[in-house]
Amino acid sequence: MLLTSMPRAMKGDSIFYRLSFTSAILIFLVLIGIILSLIDGGWQALSEFGPGFVFRNIWDPVNSEFGAASAIYGTLVSSLIAIVIAIPVGLGTAIFLAELAPDWISRPISMAIELLAAVPSIIYGMWGLFVFAPWFSEGFQFWALENLVGLPLIGPWFDGPPIGIGLLTAGIILSFMILPIITALTRDALKTIPNVVREAAYGVGATPYEVITRVLLPSIKNAAVGAGILGLGRALGETMAVAFVIGGANRIETSLFMPASSISSTIAQQFNEATNEMHISSLISLGLVLFVLTFIVMGIARLLLRKR
């Protein structure tokens, strides 16, 4: 029996191996294909402006002068704001849901969070524009203009028109968008920890705080990092939600209240009406820049978090 079934099992193994190997190679090829087509499409701009394209702080479709600096700045800063808000809040929510809340609270909230993750980004954009921005302008920006602008260091961040949109608003909307991913993934990871671990910790006299911070969190570190990176990835590439609330100004400003633009929002908003070849080519180059930027940021994020 054993002898006859062995070859069949091995055959299955080899088929499975080949299938999964092909899939992996396919993904790699698709990735290469995307990069090549981006380089091809953006070649005109890349050869005109050279590698300096990335550092040029100019976006002037009238005179066909393009550079990616302001869009890169907007992308990085809005994603940073999103992560700074979403990681602590998401982690806290996940711990509360998995460890502290009674079932009748945690079930409906968990479901609500999963629903939030399913909301299309353009809905976030519209909500951000029509609901959040007016509230943000009345409720925070006027206050910030009176009370925060005088502060050293962070004061200039808030020195801008209280119009409800801009870099900060984009970052906050992004944080709402990535919050569900971070929360759900971290919560699920916490739930996979067997109860014996908790019982053992409590058994040696640990308080809930100690159990969570010393035992549970360290054991889900990788999953939590993964959740953060997924969230960051979504924030970097998010398009429509940002396009609605960031204000579409291609320049770099110190104030977080000023309109700005991200790479993806610039592409989405300008591609349709771009009639000039160099403009189109520059937009495609922006796509390439976003691609590379995401690679670099993800790499750095992984490195930084691995070391701990």
Partner: protein, 349 residues
């Protein structure tokens, strides 16, 4: 026998439906989003009358030009006319289909629609950040008797690339040499740093920001200003007369435009002569290849455009578009007759 009969009957039915579907060919067009509502309306009515389906995708002017150049659609549409060199190089014709108007809209407490007078120069200086307050001397001097509050001006513009921006910045370039030199015109521009700017996504975004930001000024299609009850301003015509935005002043601009001296219909309608011509009107254009592969289909396409000129006027006016004047339509028809060919033969008699 019964079976045979039913087979024959059903095959005849199939044949009949085939020949019907051969007639109701689909005509594909793509391009500018500004005329989309009226093209969709025309297509719907035209299909009811003739059974011919016109499929128009609003993918933006740039997309329209790219698609027709690549011959993936039967006609392209653009808010910005292609220049005559480019047009000849690609061997295409271009003609204006319908017009729209752009109006400045404001949000200044205490000021009603149509009350405030602005000039093109003042508008340019506001957008350049040279005039920062509503009660600036130049605005109050122009509007004696109107109480204008001391209120900071927020400049609202389209954050997406847009034919509206193209035409608006073209107008500002015409009335302000400084704007022309420093900023220029395009579907998307670098907005002056000196002004406090807000970018809104689409006409709706601009309308929204102007509607709710005190001190805001923006520019939108007339239909948007009307439908959203936004406060619009007067503007001066090229001959210095202050005008209210209305169908009459828009049509005056259309009628006074010098289409005859615009090869390839490459003409922007801003600041046209005539005391009563609203200064910001714009035509939207159709693009087709001169050499048509399928003469029959080309004829069908032209039939649709002809119908739109002749019978679509009222539909256009209902949606706040401005129909093309008769003289222009005649010129367009001549272009069809002269330039559209298939296998070297003219298509339209």
């Amino acid at each position: 026998m019964k079976l045979l009969k039913s087979v024959v009957m059903s095959s005849m039915l199939v044949a009949a439906s085939f020949s019907a579907s051969a007639k109701t060919e689909v005509i594909n067009g793509a391009g500018a989003s500004f005329p989309h509502p009226i093209y969709a309306k025309w297509a719907e009515e035209y299909q009811k009358e003739t059974g011919i389906r016109i499929n128009y995708q609003a993918i933006g002017s740039g997309g329209g030009i790219r698609q027709i150049t690549a011959k993936t659609v039967d006609f392209g549409a653009s808010d910005a006319p292609m220049d005559i060199k480019e047009l000849n190089k690609e061997e295409m014709i271009q003609f204006p289909m319908v017009m729209g108007a752009i109006v400045p809209v404001i949000n200044v407490p205490g000021i009603e629609s149509g009350e405030l007078k602005l000039t093109g120069e003042i508008l340019a200086d506001i957008y350049m950040g040279k005039i920062k307050k509503w009660n600036d001397e130049r605005i109050t001097a122009l509007n004696p008797g109107i109480e204008i509050p001391e209120q900071a001006i927020y400049v609202v513009h389209r954050s997406d690339g847009s034919g509206t921006t193209y035409n608006f910045t073209d107008y500002l370039s015409q009335v302000s040499p400084e704007w022309k030199e420093k900023i220029g015109r395009n579907t998307d521009i670098t907005w002056p740093k000196e002004a406090t700017t807000i970018g809104g996504n689409g006409n709706a975004g601009v309308a929204n920001f102007v509607g709710r930001t005190r001190g805001a000024i923006g520019y939108v299609e007339y239909a948007y200003a009307k439908q959203n009850d936004l406060t619009y301003t007067q503007l001066d015509s090229a001959e210095g007369k202050f005008l209210q935005p209305s169908m009459e002043t828009f049509q005056a601009a259309a009628a006074n435009a010098d289409w005859k001296n615009a090869p390839g219909f490459e003409l922007l309608l801003n600041n046209q002569p005539g005391a009563d011509s609203w200064p910001m009107t714009a035509a939207t254009f159709i693009l087709m290849h001169k050499d048509q592969v399928n003469a029959e289909k080309a004829e069908q396409i032209i039939d649709f455009f002809e119908w739109s000129y002749e019978k679509g006027d009222e539909l256009a006016a209902d949606l706040d578009y401005i129909p093309m004047p008769e003289t222009v339509v005649n010129m367009v028809e001549n272009v069809w007759k002269e330039d559209l060919t298939s296998n070297g033969q003219t298509i339209i008699e």
